[in-house]
Protein backbone atom coordinates (compact mmCIF):
# COMPACT_ATOMS: atom_id res chain seq x y z
CA UNK A 1 0.00 0.00 0.00
CA UNK A 2 1.46 3.37 -0.93
CA UNK A 3 -1.25 5.88 0.05
CA UNK A 4 0.49 8.97 1.44
CA UNK A 5 0.34 9.33 5.20
CA UNK A 6 0.58 12.93 6.36
CA UNK A 7 1.21 14.79 9.60
CA UNK A 8 -1.79 16.99 10.40
CA UNK A 9 -1.07 18.19 13.94
CA UNK A 10 1.97 18.91 16.10
CA UNK A 11 2.37 19.09 19.88
CA UNK A 12 5.67 20.07 21.47
CA UNK A 13 7.00 20.18 25.02
CA UNK A 14 10.59 21.39 24.65
CA UNK A 15 13.12 23.01 26.99
CA UNK A 16 13.24 26.02 24.67
CA UNK A 17 9.53 26.27 24.01
CA UNK A 18 6.10 24.95 24.92
CA UNK A 19 4.03 24.46 21.78
CA UNK A 20 5.32 24.00 18.23
CA UNK A 21 5.39 27.67 17.30
CA UNK A 22 7.23 28.87 20.44
CA UNK A 23 9.72 26.03 20.03
CA UNK A 24 10.32 26.75 16.35
CA UNK A 25 10.73 30.48 16.84
CA UNK A 26 13.38 29.86 19.50
CA UNK A 27 15.15 27.23 17.41
CA UNK A 28 15.46 29.57 14.43
CA UNK A 29 16.75 32.31 16.76
CA UNK A 30 19.31 29.92 18.26
CA UNK A 31 17.80 30.31 21.72
CA UNK A 32 18.86 27.58 24.11
CA UNK A 33 16.76 25.74 26.68
CA UNK A 34 19.84 24.27 28.38
CA UNK A 35 20.76 25.48 31.84
CA UNK A 36 22.06 24.24 35.17
CA UNK A 37 19.92 21.37 36.48
CA UNK A 38 17.29 22.74 38.85
CA UNK A 39 15.03 19.79 39.66
CA UNK A 40 17.56 18.84 42.34
CA UNK A 41 20.94 20.28 43.32
CA UNK A 42 23.56 18.88 40.92
CA UNK A 43 26.51 19.88 43.09
CA UNK A 44 28.63 16.80 43.50
CA UNK A 45 27.62 15.34 40.13
CA UNK A 46 29.97 15.59 37.15
CA UNK A 47 27.01 16.43 34.94
CA UNK A 48 25.39 19.73 35.89
CA UNK A 49 23.66 20.89 32.70
CA UNK A 50 20.39 19.70 31.18
CA UNK A 51 17.57 20.82 28.94
CA UNK A 52 14.74 21.02 31.44
CA UNK A 53 11.15 21.97 30.66
CA UNK A 54 10.35 25.30 32.24
CA UNK A 55 7.03 26.92 33.13
CA UNK A 56 5.11 23.74 32.46
CA UNK A 57 1.91 23.45 34.47
CA UNK A 58 0.46 19.98 34.01
CA UNK A 59 -2.89 21.17 35.35
CA UNK A 60 -3.33 23.19 32.15
CA UNK A 61 -3.84 19.86 30.39
CA UNK A 62 -4.69 17.19 32.98
CA UNK A 63 -7.00 16.86 36.05
CA UNK A 64 -5.26 16.86 39.47
CA UNK A 65 -6.04 13.23 40.31
CA UNK A 66 -4.38 12.04 37.12
CA UNK A 67 -1.34 14.26 37.72
CA UNK A 68 -0.76 12.65 41.12
CA UNK A 69 -0.95 9.14 39.67
CA UNK A 70 1.38 9.59 36.73
CA UNK A 71 4.98 10.54 36.14
CA UNK A 72 6.24 13.73 34.51
CA UNK A 73 6.93 11.82 31.27
CA UNK A 74 3.19 11.09 31.09
CA UNK A 75 2.27 14.69 31.85
CA UNK A 76 4.39 15.70 28.86
CA UNK A 77 2.85 13.00 26.67
CA UNK A 78 -0.72 13.96 27.60
CA UNK A 79 -0.04 17.65 27.10
CA UNK A 80 1.69 17.19 23.73
CA UNK A 81 -1.20 14.99 22.57
CA UNK A 82 -3.77 17.65 23.50
CA UNK A 83 -1.76 20.26 21.61
CA UNK A 84 -1.37 18.04 18.55
CA UNK A 85 -5.06 17.13 18.39
CA UNK A 86 -6.03 20.79 18.72
CA UNK A 87 -3.57 21.71 15.96
CA UNK A 88 -5.02 18.99 13.74
CA UNK A 89 -8.56 20.17 14.56
CA UNK A 90 -9.28 16.52 15.32
CA UNK A 91 -11.72 15.67 18.09
CA UNK A 92 -11.51 12.01 19.08
CA UNK A 93 -15.27 11.97 19.74
CA UNK A 94 -15.76 12.48 15.98
CA UNK A 95 -13.87 9.28 15.08
CA UNK A 96 -14.92 5.65 15.63
CA UNK A 97 -13.08 4.61 18.80
CA UNK A 98 -11.40 1.52 17.31
CA UNK A 99 -10.04 3.50 14.37
CA UNK A 100 -7.70 5.64 16.45
CA UNK A 101 -4.22 4.34 17.31
CA UNK A 102 -1.62 5.44 19.85
CA UNK A 103 2.07 4.68 19.23
CA UNK A 104 4.53 6.21 21.67
CA UNK A 105 8.16 5.74 22.60
CA UNK A 106 9.92 6.16 25.91
CA UNK A 107 13.30 5.18 27.25
CA UNK A 108 13.74 6.20 30.90
CA UNK A 109 10.39 5.24 32.36
CA UNK A 110 8.73 7.16 35.18
CA UNK A 111 11.94 8.35 36.78
CA UNK A 112 10.75 10.95 39.29
CA UNK A 113 7.74 8.93 40.42
CA UNK A 114 10.06 5.96 40.79
CA UNK A 115 12.61 7.98 42.75
CA UNK A 116 9.96 9.07 45.28
CA UNK A 117 8.57 5.59 45.73
CA UNK A 118 12.01 3.97 45.97
CA UNK A 119 12.94 6.47 48.67
CA UNK A 120 9.79 5.53 50.60
CA UNK A 121 10.63 1.87 50.13
CA UNK A 122 14.14 2.26 51.45
CA UNK A 123 13.35 4.63 54.30
CA UNK A 124 10.00 3.29 55.49
CA UNK A 125 9.48 -0.16 54.00
CA UNK A 126 7.38 -1.82 51.31
CA UNK A 127 4.02 -0.97 52.89
CA UNK A 128 4.70 2.68 52.12
CA UNK A 129 5.08 2.27 48.38
CA UNK A 130 2.01 3.64 46.63
CA UNK A 131 -0.16 1.40 44.49
CA UNK A 132 0.21 3.65 41.45
CA UNK A 133 3.92 2.94 41.28
CA UNK A 134 2.86 -0.29 39.58
CA UNK A 135 1.83 1.61 36.46
CA UNK A 136 3.39 5.06 36.71
CA UNK A 137 7.00 4.01 36.13
CA UNK A 138 6.30 1.71 33.21
CA UNK A 139 7.29 2.90 29.71
CA UNK A 140 3.92 2.01 28.26
CA UNK A 141 2.11 4.31 30.69
CA UNK A 142 2.25 7.08 28.12
CA UNK A 143 0.45 5.06 25.44
CA UNK A 144 -1.97 3.70 28.02
CA UNK A 145 -2.91 7.02 29.58
CA UNK A 146 -3.29 8.74 26.18
CA UNK A 147 -5.51 5.90 25.01
CA UNK A 148 -7.67 6.08 28.16
CA UNK A 149 -7.96 9.85 28.26
CA UNK A 150 -8.70 10.26 24.56
CA UNK A 151 -10.77 7.05 24.33
CA UNK A 152 -8.64 5.78 21.46
CA UNK A 153 -9.24 2.04 21.37
CA UNK A 154 -7.43 1.08 18.15
CA UNK A 155 -3.92 -0.40 18.02
CA UNK A 156 -1.89 0.80 21.01
CA UNK A 157 1.84 0.32 20.89
CA UNK A 158 4.88 1.31 22.91
CA UNK A 159 8.38 1.25 21.43
CA UNK A 160 11.56 1.23 23.50
CA UNK A 161 14.66 1.87 21.36
CA UNK A 162 16.19 4.73 23.33
CA UNK A 163 16.38 7.80 21.12
CA UNK A 164 15.58 5.91 17.91
CA UNK A 165 12.19 4.99 19.35
CA UNK A 166 10.67 8.38 18.65
CA UNK A 167 11.21 7.94 14.91
CA UNK A 168 10.16 4.29 15.06
CA UNK A 169 6.73 5.38 16.33
CA UNK A 170 6.27 7.40 13.15
CA UNK A 171 7.15 4.45 10.92
CA UNK A 172 4.93 2.15 12.91
CA UNK A 173 2.00 4.59 13.04
CA UNK A 174 2.29 5.02 9.27
CA UNK A 175 1.96 1.26 8.88
CA UNK A 176 -1.15 1.29 11.08
CA UNK A 177 -2.75 4.10 9.05
CA UNK A 178 -2.01 2.22 5.82
CA UNK A 179 -3.71 -0.73 7.46
CA UNK A 180 -6.91 1.30 7.69
CA UNK A 181 -6.85 3.24 10.96
CA UNK A 182 -8.22 6.76 10.61
CA UNK A 183 -5.91 8.59 13.00
CA UNK A 184 -2.75 7.86 14.94
CA UNK A 185 -1.00 9.70 17.73
CA UNK A 186 2.74 9.10 17.34
CA UNK A 187 5.82 10.39 19.11
CA UNK A 188 7.74 10.16 22.35
CA UNK A 189 8.43 11.91 25.61
CA UNK A 190 11.04 11.31 28.27
CA UNK A 191 11.61 12.84 31.72
CA UNK A 192 14.81 11.28 33.02
CA UNK A 193 15.83 13.81 35.68
CA UNK A 194 15.89 12.60 39.20
CA UNK A 195 19.14 11.94 41.11
CA UNK A 196 18.94 8.22 40.35
CA UNK A 197 17.86 8.95 36.79
CA UNK A 198 20.89 11.15 36.17
CA UNK A 199 23.26 8.56 37.61
CA UNK A 200 21.76 5.93 35.32
CA UNK A 201 22.44 8.15 32.31
CA UNK A 202 25.97 8.87 33.49
CA UNK A 203 26.88 5.18 33.41
CA UNK A 204 26.95 5.37 29.61
CA UNK A 205 29.89 7.81 29.90
CA UNK A 206 28.42 9.75 27.00
CA UNK A 207 27.19 12.81 28.90
CA UNK A 208 28.89 16.17 28.74
CA UNK A 209 30.48 17.56 31.90
CA UNK A 210 30.60 21.01 30.31
CA UNK A 211 29.31 24.02 32.22
CA UNK A 212 28.56 26.49 29.39
CA UNK A 213 25.07 25.86 27.95
CA UNK A 214 26.11 27.19 24.55
CA UNK A 215 29.16 24.99 24.03
CA UNK A 216 28.78 21.92 26.26
CA UNK A 217 27.08 19.95 23.48
CA UNK A 218 29.02 20.25 20.23
CA UNK A 219 28.50 17.33 17.83
CA UNK A 220 30.95 16.79 14.95
CA UNK A 221 33.43 19.24 16.47
CA UNK A 222 37.12 18.50 16.96
CA UNK A 223 36.73 17.80 20.68
CA UNK A 224 33.14 16.77 21.30
CA UNK A 225 32.67 16.20 25.00
CA UNK A 226 29.51 14.13 24.99
CA UNK A 227 25.90 15.28 24.92
CA UNK A 228 23.82 17.35 27.30
CA UNK A 229 20.69 15.39 28.25
CA UNK A 230 17.21 16.84 27.87
CA UNK A 231 13.59 16.10 28.75
CA UNK A 232 10.28 16.59 26.94
CA UNK A 233 9.22 15.51 23.49
CA UNK A 234 6.59 15.78 20.81
CA UNK A 235 3.43 14.14 19.51
CA UNK A 236 2.44 14.13 15.85
CA UNK A 237 -1.02 13.29 14.49
CA UNK A 238 -0.82 11.09 11.40
CA UNK A 239 -3.66 10.45 8.97
CA UNK A 240 -4.21 9.15 5.47
CA UNK A 241 -3.93 12.20 3.17
CA UNK A 242 -7.29 11.62 1.50
CA UNK A 243 -9.12 11.11 4.79
CA UNK A 244 -7.53 14.22 6.24
CA UNK A 245 -8.67 16.31 3.26
CA UNK A 246 -12.16 14.86 3.39
CA UNK A 247 -12.71 15.72 7.06
CA UNK A 248 -11.36 19.24 6.56
CA UNK A 249 -8.05 18.98 8.43
CA UNK A 250 -6.54 22.43 8.79
CA UNK A 251 -3.18 21.48 7.30
CA UNK A 252 -0.92 18.67 6.20
CA UNK A 253 2.61 19.61 7.23
CA UNK A 254 4.31 16.87 5.23
CA UNK A 255 4.34 13.26 4.10
CA UNK A 256 6.02 10.43 5.99
CA UNK A 257 7.62 9.24 2.77
CA UNK A 258 10.22 6.75 3.96
CA UNK A 259 11.16 4.79 7.05
CA UNK A 260 13.78 2.19 7.91
CA UNK A 261 15.32 0.79 11.08
CA UNK A 262 18.42 -1.34 11.45
CA UNK A 263 20.47 -2.81 14.28
CA UNK A 264 24.21 -2.46 14.58
CA UNK A 265 26.17 -5.72 14.56
CA UNK A 266 27.79 -6.61 17.90
CA UNK A 267 31.18 -5.10 18.80
CA UNK A 268 33.97 -7.10 17.14
CA UNK A 269 31.82 -8.11 14.16
CA UNK A 270 33.30 -7.59 10.69
CA UNK A 271 29.96 -6.19 9.50
CA UNK A 272 29.66 -2.41 9.29
CA UNK A 273 27.43 -0.28 11.56
CA UNK A 274 23.82 -0.14 10.39
CA UNK A 275 23.16 3.60 9.98
CA UNK A 276 24.15 3.77 6.33
CA UNK A 277 21.82 0.92 5.45
CA UNK A 278 18.98 2.56 7.38
CA UNK A 279 19.42 5.74 5.32
CA UNK A 280 19.57 3.82 2.03
CA UNK A 281 16.51 1.74 2.86
CA UNK A 282 14.55 4.80 3.91
CA UNK A 283 15.39 6.56 0.63
CA UNK A 284 14.37 3.44 -1.27
CA UNK A 285 11.12 3.32 0.67
CA UNK A 286 10.48 6.96 -0.22
CA UNK A 287 11.31 6.31 -3.88
CA UNK A 288 13.83 9.13 -4.01
CA UNK A 289 17.55 9.42 -4.74
CA UNK A 290 20.18 10.80 -2.40
CA UNK A 291 20.49 13.85 -4.67
CA UNK A 292 16.82 14.68 -3.99
CA UNK A 293 17.44 15.22 -0.28
CA UNK A 294 17.72 18.88 0.75
CA UNK A 295 18.79 18.52 4.37
CA UNK A 296 19.67 15.97 7.01
CA UNK A 297 18.85 16.32 10.70
CA UNK A 298 21.60 14.24 12.24
CA UNK A 299 21.59 12.20 15.41
CA UNK A 300 24.59 14.20 16.64
CA UNK A 301 25.83 12.21 19.62
CA UNK A 302 28.95 14.33 20.26
CA UNK A 303 30.92 11.21 21.19
CA UNK A 304 34.00 11.05 18.89
CA UNK A 305 33.59 7.52 17.55
CA UNK A 306 29.84 7.88 17.10
CA UNK A 307 30.22 11.26 15.35
CA UNK A 308 32.79 9.74 13.03
CA UNK A 309 30.53 6.83 12.19
CA UNK A 310 27.55 9.05 11.54
CA UNK A 311 29.55 11.41 9.32
CA UNK A 312 30.88 8.38 7.47
CA UNK A 313 27.39 7.01 6.86
CA UNK A 314 26.09 10.39 5.66
CA UNK A 315 29.11 10.87 3.37
CA UNK A 316 28.75 7.35 1.98
CA UNK A 317 25.16 8.04 0.92
CA UNK A 318 25.25 11.73 -0.02
CA UNK A 319 28.96 12.26 -0.78
CA UNK A 320 31.36 14.19 1.48
CA UNK A 321 29.83 17.61 2.23
CA UNK A 322 27.09 16.45 -0.10
CA UNK A 323 24.04 17.68 1.82
CA UNK A 324 23.43 20.36 4.49
CA UNK A 325 23.38 18.77 7.93
CA UNK A 326 22.04 20.28 11.13
CA UNK A 327 21.70 19.22 14.77
CA UNK A 328 19.20 21.67 16.28
CA UNK A 329 19.05 19.47 19.37
CA UNK A 330 22.12 21.26 20.77
CA UNK A 331 19.61 23.88 21.95
CA UNK A 332 17.57 21.40 23.96
CA UNK A 333 19.88 18.56 24.77
CA UNK A 334 19.49 15.00 23.68
CA UNK A 335 15.92 14.31 24.76
CA UNK A 336 15.94 10.53 24.28
CA UNK A 337 12.73 9.28 22.69
CA UNK A 338 11.39 12.83 22.84
CA UNK A 339 14.36 14.10 20.87
CA UNK A 340 13.81 12.15 17.68
CA UNK A 341 10.09 13.01 17.69
CA UNK A 342 11.05 16.64 18.11
CA UNK A 343 13.42 16.30 15.15
CA UNK A 344 10.53 14.97 13.07
CA UNK A 345 8.46 18.04 14.05
CA UNK A 346 11.45 20.18 13.10
CA UNK A 347 11.61 18.53 9.66
CA UNK A 348 7.90 19.23 9.10
CA UNK A 349 8.34 22.90 10.03
CA UNK A 350 11.40 23.10 7.75
CA UNK A 351 9.12 22.07 4.89
CA UNK A 352 6.55 24.65 5.83
CA UNK A 353 8.97 27.56 6.21
CA UNK A 354 11.73 26.53 3.77
CA UNK A 355 14.57 27.01 6.23
CA UNK A 356 17.23 24.81 7.86
CA UNK A 357 17.63 25.43 11.62
CA UNK A 358 21.06 26.21 13.08
CA UNK A 359 23.49 24.00 14.95
CA UNK A 360 24.69 26.12 17.85
CA UNK A 361 27.99 25.33 19.55
CA UNK A 362 29.91 23.20 17.03
CA UNK A 363 31.99 25.95 15.51
CA UNK A 364 35.05 23.85 14.69
CA UNK A 365 33.92 20.89 12.61
CA UNK A 366 36.33 17.98 12.83
CA UNK A 367 38.27 16.96 9.73
CA UNK A 368 37.22 13.40 10.49
CA UNK A 369 33.58 14.39 9.99
CA UNK A 370 33.12 15.63 6.41
CA UNK A 371 29.64 17.05 6.95
CA UNK A 372 28.33 20.39 5.70
CA UNK A 373 27.21 21.49 9.15
CA UNK A 374 24.88 24.48 8.99
CA UNK A 375 26.47 26.52 11.76
CA UNK A 376 24.86 28.90 14.21
CA UNK A 377 22.63 30.78 11.77
CA UNK A 378 19.47 29.36 10.20
CA UNK A 379 19.86 28.82 6.46
CA UNK A 380 17.04 29.58 3.99
CA UNK A 381 16.83 26.88 1.35
CA UNK A 382 14.49 25.12 -1.03
CA UNK A 383 13.32 22.11 0.96
CA UNK A 384 11.28 19.24 -0.48
CA UNK A 385 12.78 16.22 1.29
CA UNK A 386 14.38 16.01 4.75
CA UNK A 387 16.08 12.94 6.19
CA UNK A 388 15.92 12.60 9.97
CA UNK A 389 18.37 10.26 11.71
CA UNK A 390 18.33 8.80 15.17
CA UNK A 391 20.42 6.25 17.01
CA UNK A 392 19.55 4.51 20.24
CA UNK A 393 21.93 3.29 22.92
CA UNK A 394 21.82 -0.45 23.28
CA UNK A 395 23.82 -0.86 26.47
CA UNK A 396 26.90 -2.69 25.24
CA UNK A 397 29.60 -0.05 25.14
CA UNK A 398 30.20 3.66 24.94
CA UNK A 399 31.21 3.54 21.27
CA UNK A 400 28.51 1.25 20.08
CA UNK A 401 25.00 2.29 19.18
CA UNK A 402 22.59 -0.56 18.49
CA UNK A 403 19.42 1.06 17.11
CA UNK A 404 19.50 3.13 13.89
CA UNK A 405 16.42 4.73 12.41
CA UNK A 406 16.03 6.95 9.37
CA UNK A 407 12.87 8.72 8.27
CA UNK A 408 12.28 10.67 5.05
CA UNK A 409 9.79 13.52 5.46
CA UNK A 410 8.66 15.15 2.23
CA UNK A 411 6.59 18.08 1.07
CA UNK A 412 2.94 17.39 0.29
CA UNK A 413 2.56 17.44 -3.48
Amino acid sequence: MTAPVVATGLGVVAPNGLGAEAFWENVLAGKTGIDRISRFDPAGYDVTLAGEIKDFDASDYIPGALIARTDRMTHFALAATEMALADACARPADFPEYEMAVVTANSAGGTEFGQRELEKLQMHGPQHVGAYMSIAWFYAANTGQISIKQKMRGPCVMISAEQAGGLDTIGHARRIIRGGALLAVSGGTDAPFSPAGLIAQMTTRRLSTGTDPLTAYRPFSTHPGGYVPGEGGAMIILEDAANARERGARQAYGVIAGYAATFDPPPGSPRPPGLRRAIELALQDAGIAAADVDAVLADGHAVPELDRREAEAIAAVFGPLGVPVSVPKTLNGRMYSGGSSLDAVTALLMLRDQVIPPTVGSSDVSAECPVDLVGDQARAARIRHVVVLSRGYGGLSRDYSCFNTAVVISAVS
Binding site: A65, I67, Q127, I135
Partner: protein, 83 residues
Protein backbone atom coordinates in the same frame (compact mmCIF):
# COMPACT_ATOMS: atom_id res chain seq x y z
CA UNK B 1 -9.17 2.60 69.29
CA UNK B 2 -12.11 4.86 68.42
CA UNK B 3 -14.63 3.69 65.85
CA UNK B 4 -13.62 4.33 62.27
CA UNK B 5 -16.33 6.73 61.12
CA UNK B 6 -17.53 8.25 57.87
CA UNK B 7 -15.80 11.63 58.22
CA UNK B 8 -12.45 9.87 58.79
CA UNK B 9 -13.02 7.62 55.80
CA UNK B 10 -14.06 10.59 53.67
CA UNK B 11 -10.83 12.43 54.56
CA UNK B 12 -8.71 9.41 53.66
CA UNK B 13 -10.57 8.87 50.41
CA UNK B 14 -10.01 12.50 49.48
CA UNK B 15 -6.28 11.97 50.08
CA UNK B 16 -6.32 9.02 47.72
CA UNK B 17 -8.38 10.83 45.11
CA UNK B 18 -5.59 13.36 44.66
CA UNK B 19 -5.58 17.14 44.62
CA UNK B 20 -8.60 19.21 43.63
CA UNK B 21 -12.28 19.26 44.56
CA UNK B 22 -14.17 16.03 45.10
CA UNK B 23 -17.90 16.82 45.05
CA UNK B 24 -18.72 13.13 44.69
CA UNK B 25 -17.42 12.58 48.24
CA UNK B 26 -19.67 15.17 49.84
CA UNK B 27 -23.15 14.21 51.04
CA UNK B 28 -24.24 10.57 50.81
CA UNK B 29 -21.51 8.47 49.29
CA UNK B 30 -20.92 5.44 51.49
CA UNK B 31 -23.27 3.17 49.55
CA UNK B 32 -22.11 4.33 46.11
CA UNK B 33 -19.76 1.81 44.53
CA UNK B 34 -16.10 2.74 44.26
CA UNK B 35 -16.45 2.31 40.52
CA UNK B 36 -19.17 4.99 40.42
CA UNK B 37 -17.06 7.22 42.65
CA UNK B 38 -14.21 7.06 40.10
CA UNK B 39 -11.95 4.93 42.30
CA UNK B 40 -10.22 2.31 40.16
CA UNK B 41 -8.72 -0.83 41.71
CA UNK B 42 -5.40 0.91 42.35
CA UNK B 43 -7.11 3.79 44.17
CA UNK B 44 -8.86 1.31 46.47
CA UNK B 45 -5.52 -0.39 47.05
CA UNK B 46 -4.00 3.01 47.94
CA UNK B 47 -6.80 3.54 50.45
CA UNK B 48 -6.21 0.13 52.00
CA UNK B 49 -2.49 0.88 52.28
CA UNK B 50 -3.21 4.23 53.95
CA UNK B 51 -5.58 2.59 56.46
CA UNK B 52 -2.95 -0.02 57.18
CA UNK B 53 -0.26 2.64 57.74
CA UNK B 54 -2.32 5.14 59.73
CA UNK B 55 -4.50 2.80 61.80
CA UNK B 56 -2.30 -0.28 61.94
CA UNK B 57 -5.25 -2.34 60.68
CA UNK B 58 -4.14 -5.28 58.52
CA UNK B 59 -5.67 -5.09 55.04
CA UNK B 60 -4.54 -8.05 52.91
CA UNK B 61 -5.20 -8.18 49.17
CA UNK B 62 -8.08 -10.63 49.37
CA UNK B 63 -9.86 -8.29 51.81
CA UNK B 64 -9.25 -5.37 49.45
CA UNK B 65 -10.88 -7.35 46.66
CA UNK B 66 -14.16 -7.46 48.66
CA UNK B 67 -14.41 -3.67 49.02
CA UNK B 68 -17.15 -2.63 46.61
CA UNK B 69 -18.49 0.39 48.52
CA UNK B 70 -17.12 2.71 51.24
CA UNK B 71 -19.57 1.07 53.67
CA UNK B 72 -17.72 -2.23 53.09
CA UNK B 73 -14.52 -0.47 54.20
CA UNK B 74 -16.16 1.04 57.31
CA UNK B 75 -17.56 -2.36 58.31
CA UNK B 76 -14.28 -4.18 57.66
CA UNK B 77 -12.11 -1.73 59.57
CA UNK B 78 -14.48 -1.56 62.55
CA UNK B 79 -14.61 -5.36 62.67
CA UNK B 80 -10.80 -5.46 62.75
CA UNK B 81 -10.66 -2.84 65.49
CA UNK B 82 -13.20 -4.70 67.60
CA UNK B 83 -11.31 -7.99 67.25
Amino acid sequence: MAEFDTPRLRAMMKDCAGPGEHPELEGEFIDTTYEDLGFDSLAVLELATLIQQDLGVPFPDDAVAEMVTPRNVLDYVNQQIAA
